[in-house]
């Protein structure tokens, strides 16, 4: 073999503390090394040209570059050697900058270490083999999980881009949290009015298949070729027949059914349509409260339904879909604030969550948009808003900021004044976080135009004073005094957490999630919608707290990623994957058992069972190679021999 070695000075970055010329000279003594040089900037255009020239001039069939970390320039130099006609895998790098010159002061030690790392690379290279990528087809269809505003945006953009979309929504209607909001900041325009049309587009778009009241059961496969099992939960109403006329909901006798859509601010019926603009506008039976199921007799809805859509014996159904990419947009839930016993732990009817307040303010809500107290239906005069309940609070395991509470609290204060002109709102805050466009101006308006009292401090406790009001014991840290307010209504800006079941979904998607169940993007700054699993993208709050504009933007960003992925007809698979030497394989199945990706299957070859790697599924971790006792399965480009060569280069007594 004829190997060329290039020791990069990287200006003084390496040259400063490593004697590059000496390293090059030592390298010339290594086996198979026929050429060594120490250019000033190897990655620069002339540096790369020099490599190409050397390859031709010295008929090199392998190149080692000792410079910065391979995580930076490996792709660059691989292209370089490729241009000169070598296989891109006949190239190795030695990291003598981040791992040598930048961390060691002693030039002699650095030089010696650099030389050893070059030796390491040379020994590895001597065991390298040319590898060729394989290409495979892509199923140009995308699965969007979650029908909130982020998911809707992603679905619509993909669909408009000509990609068939499968949209899966856990609830009976899409719209997510935004559909529950009365108005939106900072424009104070009606939430339903701006979201409604988008929801309708979803329903009418030829490219979108919507599975509402459904959940993702299982996901297998890999980028370009995922297989998804979807559980369509039993609604006990045949949606193909249901016209959404609502006759059933009027006649249903169980009128005390808790209303999840309205955040339990009022009762609903056992058979129900979430809200007037629901998409799909179909009825669903809540079996837990339906007399037919609880008592075994009733059947009113079945009698009343003009299309005979009611079917009490409906079962869950599993459907399977093939997709090439997945967008997760599962959103958030409120944390369980009842851990705050000092706020009554949920025992006080007029201490409510901000989301409940939205429903109370909403025209489609239980009070028809009249702000009244849940306890006695009276109009509140003094309303206290408390921020950061379950945000920035380590004592309840929620140290993070929920991002948008400051803004909607200001909005709710403003709306309160609009609804009840003679009311007075107080907001207890720690910091006002209003970095968005027109946001700070909005919070200022809440103060300056709507006379909201912003009080800088937390609230220690809330308790009923015995004549229908609540004593709010707070502090004004700017004043440096405790303060006390007698309030008619207290609204808690409850912090958010990843929506229920996020970790389980993450496991199915094979993407990582943080301590609080939020999904992890693959780079905080540069890959905000990608995940570490190819073909899986993120949109909305499932990735971290963000408001509507940001969620919509991320929805579109995810869609762009999907469209870019589908722009190619074939995908290339990384050739750095495991390969089975069938002579050595005894079919013990250990590799199959521990492969994290199910990338190894048992096949029959000449009557014998053997392991076989599914090239497109294998991610190249090498766990199988470390598992196989007879070394029958080897990870290309990190084979036992290649690593042994490196070990031996370092350890030979």
């Amino acid at each position: 073999m004829r190997i060329g070695v290039f020791i990069c000075h990287c200006g003084s970055n390496i040259g400063g503390t490593v004697d590059c010329a000496k390293v090059a000279e030592i390298a010339r003594g290594f086996p198979d090394v026929v050429y060594a040089d120490d250019p000033m900037y190897t990655c620069a255009e002339p540096g790369q040209a020099a490599i190409e020239a050397a390859i031709h001039e010295h008929r090199l069939d392998g190149v080692v570059v000792a410079s910065c970390t391979p995580r930076m320039h490996e792709p660059t130099f691989r292209r370089t050697v490729e241009r000169a006609g070598l296989n891109r895998y006949m190239f190795e790098m030695a990291n003598i900058r981040e791992h040598v010159s930048w961390i060691g002061r002693d030039k002699e030690a650095n030089t010696n270490k650099a030389a050893e790392l070059v030796r390491l690379a040379v020994e590895k290279l001597r065991n390298n083999k040319p590898l060729a990528a394989k290409s495979f087809d892509v199923t140009k269809k995308v699965l969007v999980i979650g029908g909130g505003v982020a998911g809707i945006q992603a679905a619509l953009d993909c669909a408009d881009g000509g990609v068939p979309v499968i949209l899966v929504e856990r609830e009976a209607t899409i719209g997510g949290k935004m559909a529950k909001l009365d108005k939106t900041f900072p424009t104070v325009d009606c939430s339903a009015c701006i979201l409604g049309p988008k929801m309708v587009d979803v329903a009418q778009h030829p490219n979108i298949t919507l599975y509402a009241y459904s959940e993702v059961e299982d996901i297998s496969g890999y980028v370009g070729n995922f297989t998804v099992k979807i559980r369509k939960r039993a609604t006990y109403v045949d949606w193909s027949k249901c016209t959404g006329c609502g006759a059933c909901t009027e006649k249903c006798p169980s009128k005390k059914t808790p209303d999840a859509f309205n955040e339990f601010t009022g009762p609903t019926t056992a058979i129900t349509i979430a809200f007037p603009q629901a998409i799909p506008k179909k009825a669903v039976i809540n079996a837990a409260h339906c007399r037919q199921f609880v008592k075994g007799k009733c059947g009113v809805c079945a009698k009343i339904c003009p299309t005979g859509a009611i079917s009490y014996d409906m079962q869950d159904e599993i459907v399977t879909e093939e997709v090439g990419s997945i967008v997760a947009a599962t959103g958030y839930d409120l944390m369980d604030w009842t851990v705050y016993e000092e706020y009554g732990g949920g025992r006080y009817p007029d201490v409510i969550t901000s989301l409940q307040y939205e429903r109370i303010m909403s025209a489609s809500g239980p009070t028809g948009g009249h702000i009244v107290r849940p306890s006695d239906g009276r109009e509140p005069q003094k309303v206290v808003f408390i921020q950061c309940v379950g945000s920035r609070d380590r004592s309840v395991g929620r140290p993070y900021c929920s991002g948008f509470c400051c803004m909607y609290t200001a909005k709710q204060a403003v709306l309160t004044k609009d609804h009840i002109p003679n009311s007075q709102s107080y907001v207890f805050y720690m910091d006002i976080r209003a970095p968005g466009k027109m946001y700070d101006e909005f919070t200022r308006r809440a103060v300056e135009e709507y006379g909201t009292e912003y009080i800088r401090g937390r609230v220690s406790s809330i308790y009923p004073d015995g004549n229908g009001q609540y004593v709010v014991m707070g502090v004004d840290t700017l004043l440096g005094e405790p303060v006390e307010i007698r309030a008619d209504l207290v609204v808690l800006a409850v912090g958010i957490e990843a929506s229920k079941g996020s970790p389980q979904l993450a496991e199915k998607l094979r993407i990582s999630y943080d301590h609080y169940g939020f999904f992890m993007e693959s780079h905080v700054k540069l890959k905000p919608v990608e995940t570490n699993t190819a073909g899986v993208f993120l949109a909305g709050v499932c990735q971290g707290a963000k408001d509507i504009p940001a969620s919509v933007a991320q929805g579109s960003a995810a869609a762009a990623k999907v469209l870019a992925l589908f722009a190619r007809d074939k995908l290339e698979s990384d050739p750095q994957i495991a390969q089975v030497d069938i002579r050595r394989c005894v079919n013990c199945g250990k590799c199959i058992r521990c492969c994290p990706f199910g990338a190894i299957k048992e096949v029959e070859i000449r009557g014998e069972g053997k392991a076989q790697v599914i090239e497109t599924v294998c991610q190249g971790c090498g766990l199988c190679t470390a598992t196989c006792p007879q070394g029958a399965i080897q990870l290309s480009h990190a084979t036992d021999n290649q690593i042994l060569a490196e070990v031996n280069a370092l350890c030979q007594c």
């Binding site: 016993e341 009554g344 732990g345 025992r347 406790s461 308790y463 009923p464 004073d465 015995g466």
Partner: protein, 297 residues
Amino acid sequence: MKFAYYPGCSAKGSSADYEKSTQAVCAALGIHLEELPGWNCCGSTPAHAVDTELSAALCARNLDIAAREQAETVLTPCPSCLSNLRHAAKRMENPQFRARVDELLDTPAAAHFPEVTSVMQGIARVYDANAIAAQVKKSLKGVRLAAYYGCLMSRPPEVMDFGDPENPTLMESLLSACGAEMVDFPLKTACCGASFGIPERVMTARNSGRILELATQLGVDAVVVACPLCQMNLDLRQKQAAKEADAFFRMPVLYFTQMMGLAFGIAPEHLGLEKLRVSADELLRKIDGAQAGEGDR
């Protein structure tokens, strides 16, 4: 059932009635309280306010006695004593601290101390609600009560182990077992002003005032307490509180043991009710009335 017993100084003075009723109720329940021989003051607030090790030393002597008596569990009626004893025991788990404390003692304290808990938990440990109900001769039916625990009983939770530190409910369960109607009393763990009654009257007046105000507002027949200092501040100092709050209170403040005693049909004089500054006569009449009412039906 037998427990070692640490009455605490106030039992021999300002809260003799607490002591009396505790003894009476425990007797009625067949719980035998074995007073620790030669116990001394736990040091109360002043000791730990002055020095943690001094406070621990005073407590350690008592715990040591209990250990030598081979007691398994020591009951004490007073939350302050309880807090000090439990804190001392916890702090003594740290060897350096223990060493410093041993220096102050005649002989190094026993390696392991028996557990100390409140009389209330002691009773609840032996009798569940039904068992208590079974003891009731005079149901407290129709009597509205506010349970007030004070700030020490449940705090800090990791030391006191008394249920939810913001919302303990043990007293409620005991007294509702006696038939009483327990109101949700949000200030149940608020501070009454503690021992500052003497050096800084306004402290107790304000804080006790707030508590009495809410109790009055909620229209309860009495506030039930488990702490001698709380009782003193809410009862004996009720006038001071009223003056500070510029209000008028007539709120009987009884120990939970006195309340239970009444339910068990024990005579008021055996429960030290005469020591109450704000008389409980009306309350007693109400209870008897309820009984009469029961009789009619």
